[in-house]
């Protein structure tokens, strides 16, 4: 015989379990901020330590380890930028003459960008870009790109990589801000 009380109790317990699962998911699924990244709401783009050859010999870039231990790499005026590829359509790597400032998900000091490479350019590939494959930028305008001029020596620079989701609306991946000194 149909036991209404028992059935009602089962339904109530089921609803309670569903509510708990969803509330747990809501807490667990919240995007966590990573303040070490240039864009804290994004996922991390790893920059492993790497070595490349230049005219002066092998150059070591410490990547994320250098960020953690406050190491400043010394690089030539035409450095090579490397990172772990995230396989997205839209990605940018840029060198700043001053620390990168991000407010509300947007870079504030875009006029401090001295060099840029993005996935719309013909040369370079996601994860490994030589300085010559990027462009100089004027007034922060992507339409005013020119052949890159080597960086000024005896000057400290900052670089980073960020990438968008498929729609291009939100920055989905971001690296830490790397610092290097041009000898």
């Amino acid at each position: 015989m149909f036991n209404f009380t028992h059935n009602k109790l089962s339904v109530s317990i089921s609803i309670l379990i569903i509510v708990i699962i969803f509330s747990a998911c809501e807490n667990a699924c919240e995007e966590t901020l990573n303040n070490e990244l240039i864009f804290p709401e994004a996922h991390e783009i790893n920059v492993p330590s790497y070595v490349y050859q230049s005219i002066t010999g092998d150059i070591l870039v410490h990547g994320d380890e250098g960020y953690k231990f406050n190491l400043v790499d010394t690089l030539p005026a035409t450095p090579v930028i490397g990172w772990d590829s995230v396989q997205t359509k839209l990605i940018i790597s840029a060198i700043f003459s001053q620390p990168i400032q991000v407010v509300n998900g947007r870079i504030e000091n875009l006029n401090k960008i001295v060099w840029i490479w993005h996935s719309g350019l013909e040369n370079g590939k996601d994860g490994w870009v030589a300085f010559e494959e990027g462009r100089n930028i004027s007034d922060g305008n992507l339409d005013n790109l020119s052949q890159p001029i080597p960086l000024t020596t005896s000057h400290q620079y900052y670089w980073g990589v960020w990438s968008w989701d498929e729609s291009g609306i939100r920055v989905r991946y971001s690296s830490r801000q790397m610092t290097f000194y041009v000898k």
Binding site: G105, I107, H118, G120, D143, S167, G168, I169, R170
Partner: protein, 441 residues
């Protein structure tokens, strides 16, 4: 001694005792036939003569349909015995044995062992008598024969073999689609025999279970002499087309025959209210789902019986795809946004055809709704048709036009971070094809 006692009784009393088997042969020591004969010889005028079987369990029925004019001095009795079997050597009981001797006729029935017996009077001056015997039972073919007996007696036992008639248990089940239908009038005609049945309903069985095993079924027994006979079946029920089937007796294999009833062109006792649920699948590039839940009632006015006022709640989703210019040299991106809007308001429709038409009853109407977000007034005209799938449920399809405004979100790509968003007022104009179900009650 008993005979002397009996002489003191009136003849009527005595024979009534004989009819009711009060006189048991086991107690009545004297041979019964001789006693009767003696009595009859003493005074045989105006006597009811009754055959007595001599078996306790035999239900004998005997009569003399005509009173004879035999003289009291010239009557004697002859007893005829027999056994009735069928061609499978089984004893056949309850066979009516009809005997006709000149102007006399009498009948008796065979007992459980197939035995029968009867006695009849003959004149003493007649040496032989011809008797016509008929053996009748519904399940068996009638059998007639003549025997000739002498005045002395008929010492032999008759052996009668009856041939069974053909018999079937005709079973059938009636469906509407795949659903068995109860309470269908089933008329069965075989030769001059008519039977009227109804298909079965569910019922509570002896074990207190709700039993629908025989829902929509009927069965009846039909007997015939000729297997080439035809059986005519006719089915009728309100809301269905009457149907007639014919089958040969010999063609029936014993299976449950399945018959499918077809719905009539109109729905009887059409209820006025209906609850409908409509759905529109997103077809096309910039489209979305549409859901509608509506209730309509009937006006208590015969002049307005084609109008159905009611309420409707609808939901419309609108999927918008926008292309976005991104990095120079890179391909455009695209983002999709789904906007959901709810509307509620009064609705009315008018049947262009008669509402109780089963197929394609067409209607025209409109919902005067209010958008729950924004509060704008939205008119939703529609034209549609419905098709009854049974007595209460129908499927409906309608074309609906809906036009409403919404605040859409647009974006501009920015290479220095998240895209710049802004709102834009857009208008949604859609012609929907709704498919729905309607429950009429």
């Amino acid at each position: 001694m008993v005979a002397h006692i009996m002489l003191g009784l009136s003849f009527n009393t005595f024979f009534s005792m004989l009819r009711t088997n009060i006189i048991n042969p086991a107690v009545f020591k004297y041979p019964l036939s001789s006693v009767i004969i003696k009595i009859l010889i003493i005074n045989a005028s105006f006597i009811h003569v009754c055959a007595y079987s001599g078996h306790n369990l035999i239900e004998n029925a005997c009569s003399i349909t005509q009173r004879d004019s035999l003289s009291r001095d010239s009557v004697t009795f002859i007893e005829v015995n027999g056994i009735i079997k069928n061609n499978f050597h089984e004893n056949v009981d309850s066979v009516k044995v009809l005997a006709e001797i000149n102007s006399y006729s009498m009948h008796t029935y065979s007992d459980e062992e197939g035995l029968f017996t009867f006695k009849f009077p003959v004149g003493s001056n007649i040496l032989t008598e011809s008797i016509h015997l008929s053996f009748l039972k519904y399940d068996y073919k009638p059998f007639d024969t003549n025997i000739v007996v002498t005045k002395e007696d008929f010492p032999e036992t008759l052996n009668i073999i009856l041939i069974p008639r053909y018999k079937i248990l005709l079973k059938g089940r009636l469906f509407a689609g795949n659903t068995p239908i109860e309470d269908v009038d089933v008329k069965i005609r075989h030769l001059d025999e008519f039977k009227q049945l109804k298909t079965m309903k569910c019922y509570t069985d002896e074990e207190n279970y709700w039993n629908c095993l025989y829902l929509g079924m009927f069965k009846t027994e039909i007997v015939t002499d000729n297997p080439e006979d035809s059986i005519y079946l006719s089915f009728s029920r309100s809301g269905f087309k009457p149907q007639l089937y014919k089958l040969r007796f010999a063609d029936y294999s014993g299976d449950i025959l399945k018959f499918r009833m077809k719905y009539a062109d109109t729905v009887p006792d059409l209820p006025g209210s209906n609850l409908s649920f409509k759905l529109s699948y997103p077809i096309g590039k910039s489209s979305g789902w549409f859901l509608g839940l509506s209730f309509y009632g009937k006006l208590n006015n015969n002049m307005l019986n084609r109008f159905r006022p009611g309420m409707e709640i609808t939901m419309s989703t609108y999927k918008r795809s926008v292309s976005l210019s991104s990095l120079p040299g890179a391909s455009e991106t695209k983002f999709d946004t789904v906007y959901t809007n709810f509307f509620v308001g009064p609705s009315v429709f008018f049947f262009l055809t008669k509402p109780h038409v089963r197929r394609f009853s067409t209607y025209l109407g409109s919902t005067f709704s209010l958008a729950l977000s924004g509060g704008a007034f939205v008119l939703q005209p529609f034209i549609g048709t419905r098709y009854f799938i049974d007595m209460r449920k129908s499927v409906c399809m309608d074309f609906r036009y809906i036009s409403y405004g919404l605040n859409a979100r647009n974006y501009t790509f920015s290479y220095i971070g998240n895209a710049i968003g802004y709102n834009e007022k857009i208008s949604v104009d859609r012609i929907l094809i709704n498919i729905g179900v309607q429950i009429n009650f």
